[in-house]
Structures are given as structure tokens and as C-alpha cells.
């Protein structure tokens, strides 16, 4: 058998790079059936039964699903037998007995060591350097974790660069993951620019990159369901964001995608209870970056009471408090982001607004909007003055000079983390480091109060009054 693979007419290292560290369905392997069978016959590729029947439960090997209601039976017309399949991860292709997963078991490929990979010429602030140093140290310890708790606008991405440089010098493979596709799309050009000579791929539902062969992979957490023990360094951005903290298969996938002794860096501006208690009990090492990179405090949100707000919104009427504020903004050249709790409401309010005024260029965006990327891009290019949005733009996106208004800040979707993130959209650039943040509400909620308190606390820890 050995002599056969030695004599083989194919360069196995290419296949190794393509298939290593992955769990793929047959139709996800970018090779023909002939080639796949060849690799199987030569013990370079192995098929794995994806559904495990354990003593008291069933488990999906790809997504970790153990809930009985998320498995179902299918009478297979080809095998003439009934199989169990996983419904939880079916959006990534159905796994069942006769549709197994394939894993590379040949030689693991060697990734290049890069002596001088960074093409970024900027400089880190003192606070950023402190965090960057800790990240570099974490990489050197096997199996280590680190939480980087940095306020919105602290320059988290740049803080990662020294760590990435270090990892590339050592010939490691790196993954940057986040639950949101928008964030992946925004990160890709920034990382590529900073590491121009490195192969970098961005993976998300519908992305043009598909193979997953880059030394640096930027991916939505969902895409990691296709990886297994692939990365030496895992950077999880926005660890507190929905759906990461909500869907147990995502932490499962992230953990599995990491090699056994790999290191993990968590990034967040708003740690959830779970991470917070691990910090307090000293189980999770952390570094705190309380200051924005431009050395200005975070804008503190103002609460604006609007009587009968819910009632007005039901009738699609803008509260007078809001209209008065809109006319008397501190700096009218700033663009404006208006957050609304639901798609339906965002659309209706946008329609009304457009009918009533013509002095602003406006549009509206939500999660299922097919023109979402386009509209955000228009706003970024300042071709739109006011953007009505749902919580999808609460994090990960940067616009240089904006004011932010939340209409109906008392709604359930605006929890503390969401409000802190939303407030963090304002005052991002050194040219315009301030910005107004207004929460319009008809009754203070704990989330609003806590969000303001936590912003004030961070400003205090950052040395501002």
C-alpha cells in the first residue's frame, strides 16, 4: 500500500491542504468522485458515521445536537432502510448513515513560517500594546485562553496584529470567527491589508471563498461546523453576540475546530454573565482595555422620556421629543442611525418618515434584506443621511461620524449588551470623537440604566471623569 501512494501520480500535499482539519459531506469536497474514491482506497481519506447512538441519547457528530426533537427518520429510497438524520445542522447539508462525513487522515500539511508578514504601518496605543502583549504570551502557552475586554472603538482588530504576526512566524494556522456575517465581510479587507502576503479566506453563507485553504480563515461561527482540529489559534470576536451565546452548537463547533493544544482569544466589549463569573473566579485570564484608541471617552447615552411612545409607534407616529431633537442636533453634518426593535416597525417608521420629509436621504435595512450589504455601503459612503435599522447593525460596523437614536429602547431586544454596543457606534473617529446617543423610551428599564452605568464605569476606569 505504501509503495502505491509513493508512486502516486498526484501531489498529495495539495489534497492535504484542501482537506485537512475538515469534516465534509461528499458533495462538499471539491473533487470528482473518482478522486475521492482513490483517496479513500489509499487510506488518505476516511468516512465517519455522523449520527451516534449512545446509551440514552443520540448525538450528531457534526453539530453536537443531542435533542431528540431535532432528529428525524427518513425512509431512504436508495438503501430501502430508515435512517436517522440531524435536523439541527441540515442547512449545511443533511448528514445520515448513507451520507457520511469525510475526514483527511493522510499526512498533515505544513504551513509556511513567515518572518515578516505584517504590512500594517500604524502604531498601537499604550493600552492596545498591553493587550497585544498578553495575546502574544497566550499563543506561546498550550491550551491557554484569554479574554480581551475592550470598549467599543478600542481598536480590537489592531490589537490582534502582534499576536497574528507571532503565530505566522511560528507557522501556525489562525482562525478569526464571529457569529455575524457582516462582521466577517468587514474584517476581511482589513486583515488582508495588514497581511498582504498571506493567504486569507473569508467564509460565510454565500461567500465567494469556499475552499477553506487559507492560513488565516475569517469565518462565521456556523462555518466552523465544517472544521475539526484545524487551527492553532482561535480568535472569537463578539463572543457575547447573538446567536453565539444562544445556540450551543456554535461553542461546540469553535472548540472542535481548534487543535488539541491550540490557544483561544475571546474578544468582547460587553461580557455576559457566563464570562464575567469566570473572570471573577479567576478561571479565565483577561485583559481590560477601557480606552478608545483616539483617547476620548465613550459617549454616554441620554434618556429621553416620550409619553405614550408605544401607542405612538403602534400608530406609526414619530414622538415630538424625537422630532424636536432631530431638528436641534449639536452637529447636523453627522449621519444618523435609528435603531428600532422589529423589522416591521423599522419599515413602517421609515416609510412614514420618507413621506413626511424630503430634506434627508434615507433608507432602511434589516437581517433578511437582500440589499443589506449595498445599503450599508451607501451609508458608509455618506450617500445616505439617515439609516433606519434593526439590531443587526448594533455591532462590528464602523461609521466615522454619526449620531445614534434608539426608538423604544425599553423593548426586550435591547438588553444591556445591545444598548452598550449601540451606544458604541458613536464617536468612533479621531476627527469626530463625540456623538449623541439617545434612548427614547416610555419607562426606564434595568437594561438602560445598567448600560449607562457600565459605560460610565468604563470611562472612569479609562481615567476620564
Amino acid at each position: 500500500m505504501k509503495s502505491l501512494s509513493l508512486k502516486s501520480p498526484y501531489d498529495m500535499s495539495n489534497f492535504a491542504k484542501l482537506l485537512t482539519g475538515k469534516l465534509l459531506l461528499r458533495n462538499e469536497i471539491p473533487l470528482g468522485n473518482f478522486m475521492i474514491d482513490y483517496l479513500l482506497k489509499n487510506n488518505l481519506l476516511q468516512s465517519i458515521q455522523p449520527i451516534l447512538n449512545k446509551k440514552f441519547h443520540t448525538e450528531c457528530l457534526r453539530c453536537g445536537n443531542q435533542k431528540n426533537n431535532l432528529f428525524a427518520e427518513i425512509p431512504c429510497a436508495i438503501c430501502q432502510k430508515t435512517h436517522l438524520y440531524c435536523r439541527k445542522c441540515i442547512e449545511m447539508g443533511r448528514v445520515m448513515k448513507c451520507e457520511p462525513l469525510y475526514e483527511w487522515v493522510g499526512k498533515t500539511p505544513v504551513w509556511l513560517k513567515h518572518e515578516n508578514p505584517c504590512t500594517w504601518k500604524g502604531k498601537l496605543t499604550e493600552d492596545q500594546q498591553k493587550a497585544a502583549k498578553q495575546i502574544v504570551q497566550t499563543i506561546h502557552k498550550s491550551g491557554e485562553e484569554l479574554l480581551v475586554w475592550a470598549v467599543c472603538g478600542a481598536g480590537k482588530t489592531e490589537m490582534l496584529f502582534p499576536g497574528i504576526i507571532e503565530a505566522l512566524k511560528l507557522g501556525k494556522r489562525i482562525c478569526i470567527t464571529t457569529p455575524r456575517a457582516d462582521v466577517v465581510r468587514e474584517l476581511k479587507p482589513r486583515i488582508q491589508q495588514a497581511f498582504a502576503g498571506i493567504s486569507i479566506e473569508a467564509l460565510y453563507g454565500g461567500s465567494t471563498d469556499k475552499d477553506g485553504v487559507g492560513q488565516i480563515i475569517i469565518a462565521t461561527t456556523h462555518q466552523l461546523l465544517r472544521f475539526k482540529e484545524a487551527f492553532d489559534m482561535m480568535i472569537i470576536d463578539e463572543i457575547d453576540a447573538f446567536p453565539y451565546h444562544h445556540d450551543s452548537s456554535l461553542p461546540f463547533a469553535t472548540k472542535r475546530a481548534l487543535k488539541k493544544h491550540g490557544s483561544t482569544i475571546y474578544l468582547t466589549a460587553t461580557p455576559r454573565e457566563e464570562q464575567y463569573s469566570r473572570i471573577v473566579s479567576k478561571k479565565l485570564p483577561h485583559v481590560f482595555v477601557p480606552k478608545r484608541y483616539h483617547n476620548h471617552p465613550l459617549p454616554v447615552p441620554q434618556l429621553k422620556l416620550c409619553l405614550f411612545l408605544t401607542h405612538h409607534l403602534n400608530k406609526v407616529i414619530f414622538p415630538t421629543t424625537f422630532l424636536t431633537w432631530l431638528r436641534n442636533r449639536e452637529n447636523v453634518t453627522r449621519q444618523l442611525l435609528i435603531f428600532l426593535p422589529t423589522i416591521n416597525l423599522a419599515e413602517k417608521m421609515y416609510q412614514t418618515f420618507k413621506q413626511q420629509t424630503s430634506e434627508y436621504r434615507t433608507t432602511f435595512v434589516h437581517a433578511e434584506d437582500s440589499k443589506r450589504e449595498e445599503k450599508v455601503e451607501l451609508f458608509r459612503r455618506k450617500e445616505i443621511d439617515i439609516l433606519f435599522t434593526t439590531t443587526i447593525l448594533e455591532r462590528g460596523v464602523t461609521f466615522p461620524a454619526i449620531d445614534v437614536a434608539v426608538l423604544h429602547a425599553g423593548h426586550d431586544v435591547f438588553d444591556e449588551a445591545a444598548l452598550v454596543q449601540i451606544a458604541g457606534r458613536a464617536g468612533r473617529s479621531p476627527q469626530d470623537p463625540t456623538g449623541e446617543v439617545l434612548f427614547f423610551h416610555d419607562g426606564k428599564t434595568e437594561a438602560m440604566v445598567k448600560a449607562i452605568e457600565s459605560i460610565q464605569l468604563m470611562n472612569k476606569r479609562g481615567g476620564f471623569k
Binding site: 458533495n27 427518520e73 427518513i74 436508495i78 442547512e91
Partner: protein, 228 residues
């Protein structure tokens, strides 16, 4: 505890005298999801079940003209109309292959059959529209067969599909003018009810109906889940 087949939320079924005594089927969808399915009510085309004010809709008039009033298909009956929600359900069921979603339609599929079709056509033979071999090999189930199993246990394999192209990817004209992809393996001399998931242009049903009639079948009807 039961879970909604679509949104996986927990459902609490109210216990009423009627469902306690009649041992009715457990609900498959939660109230919100169920409300998004749209059963065709009110005026419909007498021929193809499309929602329509006139007795014969424009589609069917067009077919009449094209086939010179020699339409092989007597009539089609559909249960649901094809809205955005249904599109999502069908995509997940057929293309993603979430087989169990067929259970969403079970109760209505049986009820409509028993009320509107069964009594008028006791003699008829029920046949699902087949998939091509290639398509069945990737999909691992035939959605029309899954629906058919709700109303009959007989499995009659007298049809074969040779073309493997997806109808859904073709334009209307391409579909209507496409060549007949079906082969009949055995002639039938009883009326036939063809079962399929969606009636879109009606080309598929007419293709099958044509070869059935050419080979001595007296009449052919369609029973489809959705009028697209």
C-alpha cells in the same frame, strides 16, 4: 411535550373535550407557523384550483388554446397557495432534504382527499410523479411518494422519469415546450389520480397525462399540495 416542526418552539396543547375524546392527531406546527400557511378558499379555477374570480383562469384558457381543447388533464385539485412561507418550507423539505416536514401536511392532505376526491373517484388508481434516478440518488426520497403514502399504501411503479433537469430552474416557456421526460412501463385502463407537491405551470402533470391517455387510460386527474 411536543415541539413545532418548523420553529422548534415548545407547544402546549390545550386539553379540550373534543381532543380528549376523539384522540385527535397531535399538532405538528405551532399556532404562529400554522397561521402562515395559506389554504386556498373562496373562488378558484374549476380546472386547476388557482385562486381566480372567473370559472376558468387565464392559465387554463391558454392551455385550452395550446392543446386545441384536447387537454389530457381533466382537472387539478390543490390545497395550499404558494406564499413566501410555503416557499421556505418546501425549500427545506425538498432541497435540504428535511423529510419529516411532510408531516406538516398530513392532516390536510388526508382531509381534502376524503372530502373532495375520494368519493367521486372510487375506481381511480393513485400514482405519485416519479423522480429521475439521478435526482432520487441525491435526494434519497420522492416528495410525491411521501405525500401519496398518506392516502394509499399501494405502490405502483409504472412510470419512469428520464430527464433529470430541475423544472424549478426553467422559465415558463421552457417548461411548456420541454420534451416529455416520462416513460410508461405498463398501460392502465382505469382513471388515474396523479400526486405531486406543486402545480406550477401544469406541464409535468400534462406530460404524464398525455402518455397515460395515449396508452388507453380513460381519464387523468391531478391532486397536488400547492397551486404555485
Amino acid at each position: 411535550m411536543s415541539y413545532c416542526l418548523w420553529c422548534a418552539s415548545e407547544m402546549i396543547t390545550e386539553t379540550t373535550w373534543s381532543n380528549l375524546l376523539s384522540l385527535s392527531q397531535p399538532q405538528k406546527l405551532c399556532k404562529t407557523c400554522k397561521g402562515k400557511l395559506q389554504i386556498i378558499t373562496g373562488n378558484r379555477c374549476q380546472k386547476c384550483s388557482r385562486e381566480s374570480k372567473s370559472k376558468i383562469c387565464t392559465d387554463c384558457k391558454y392551455w385550452g388554446k395550446l392543446l386545441k381543447n384536447n387537454d389530457p388533464l381533466e382537472k387539478n385539485y390543490s390545497i395550499y397557495s404558494y406564499n413566501e412561507f410555503m416557499k421556505e418550507v418546501i425549500a427545506k423539505w425538498k432541497y435540504r432534504g428535511d423529510y419529516v416536514l411532510v408531516e406538516i401536511f398530513q392532516t390536510e392532505f388526508i382531509r381534502h382527499f376524503n372530502t373532495y376526491i375520494k368519493n367521486q373517484m372510487k375506481e381511480a388508481i393513485i400514482i405519485p410523479i416519479p423522480l429521475s434516478k439521478e435526482r432520487l440518488a441525491t435526494r434519497k426520497f420522492n416528495q410525491a411518494q411521501a405525500l401519496t403514502s398518506f392516502i394509499t399504501q399501494d405502490k405502483i411503479n409504472i412510470l419512469e422519469r428520464v430527464n433529470s433537469e430541475k423544472q424549478a430552474k426553467k422559465s415558463r416557456m421552457e417548461r411548456i415546450q420541454s420534451e416529455n421526460p416520462f416513460n410508461l412501463l405498463e398501460p392502465i385502463n382505469k382513471p388515474v389520480i396523479l400526486v405531486d407537491d406543486i402545480y406550477t405551470t401544469g406541464t409535468t402533470l400534462r406530460h404524464v397525462a398525455q402518455i397515460l391517455k395515449d396508452n388507453g387510460c380513460p381519464s387523468v386527474y391531478g391532486y397536488t399540495l400547492i397551486r404555485g
